[in-house]
Symmetry: C2
DNA sequence: ATGAATGCAAAAACTTTGCATGACG
DNA sequence: CGTCATGCAAAGTTTTTGCATTCAT
């Protein structure tokens, strides 16, 4: 289970790391802030410090287990890097985060970078939307 | 000059506001952090507090004079809202910020929001690139 | 056993706010 | 003149770091 995932990326198997991975895997909302994860740990009676949560999430990010997003609003949001690439839509009314995939946009981005003499390494696309009532 | 711009958006004409507007207009780099603006003020022998810089930039944003970006890395970057809409490319080697316009991407974004039953209100697209050497 | 990981508290980085003083219209 | 804006310092947020202790292998 989680132990293998951690070993695979060269991280020692420790209780905080296993627990945080479990929380991310079982979360109702795939997009959690460090604070969210911390609260979930408290909830689960696990005594892990907030500093450790940040450290572990950062390690997970470096290891490619997790993706960090900087949506508007100051704080980072983390998401398990499972599955294929996608971008996000944030509903400004409800705060809901919707994932979407679009190959045309991906292609266009590469094209644009090329046109300017660059290689596209990464990108960040967030649509801020309102539900049409 | 600047006085008119300020009056037009309903802001009292004060020295800090005029100075900050001038700095944004004459900046070598169109994308400045609050700290950058603050340093430019010091440079110009103008005694304006950092808190005022933040307050004024926020007011400018509300007034539509300025656009605030949250690129990766924690701090906000401000840009004069002159001209038409564009997105950004950040060179990961040099830190350069390149502006670009692409109508196809804009259209696709609207389409995607619609497909999910939303209205697109705003968006944030940043391409992280490396120059092909 | 030994080096890495953790918890705590302190610090850092960025931004906002309270309040007395000063400036705009 | 009344009100709004400013400066300063203090507080707020989010994230990082130092260090002694604990844990994994």
């Amino acid at each position: 289970m989680e132990n293998q995932e951690l070993r695979k990326v060269g991280l020692k198997v420790t209780l905080p790391r296993v627990k945080i991975l479990q929380i991310l895997e079982n979360a109702a909302d795939r997009h959690m802030s460090a604070e969210d994860v911390y609260k979930a740990l408290i909830e689960a009676e696990e005594d892990v410090g907030l500093a450790t949560v940040y450290r572990v999430l950062t390690q997970f990010e470096s290891a490619g287990l997790v993706i960090r997003h900087n949506f508007d609003g100051g704080h980072s949001v983390f998401e398990l890097a499972s599955g294929e690439h996608h971008d996000h839509m944030v509903c400004m009314d409800t705060g809901d985060i919707i994932e979407f995939r679009n190959q045309d946009i991906e292609r266009l981005q590469h094209m644009i970078a090329e046109e300017h003499g660059y290689d596209l390494v990464d990108h960040n696309l967030v649509l801020y939307v309102k539900s049409k009532r």
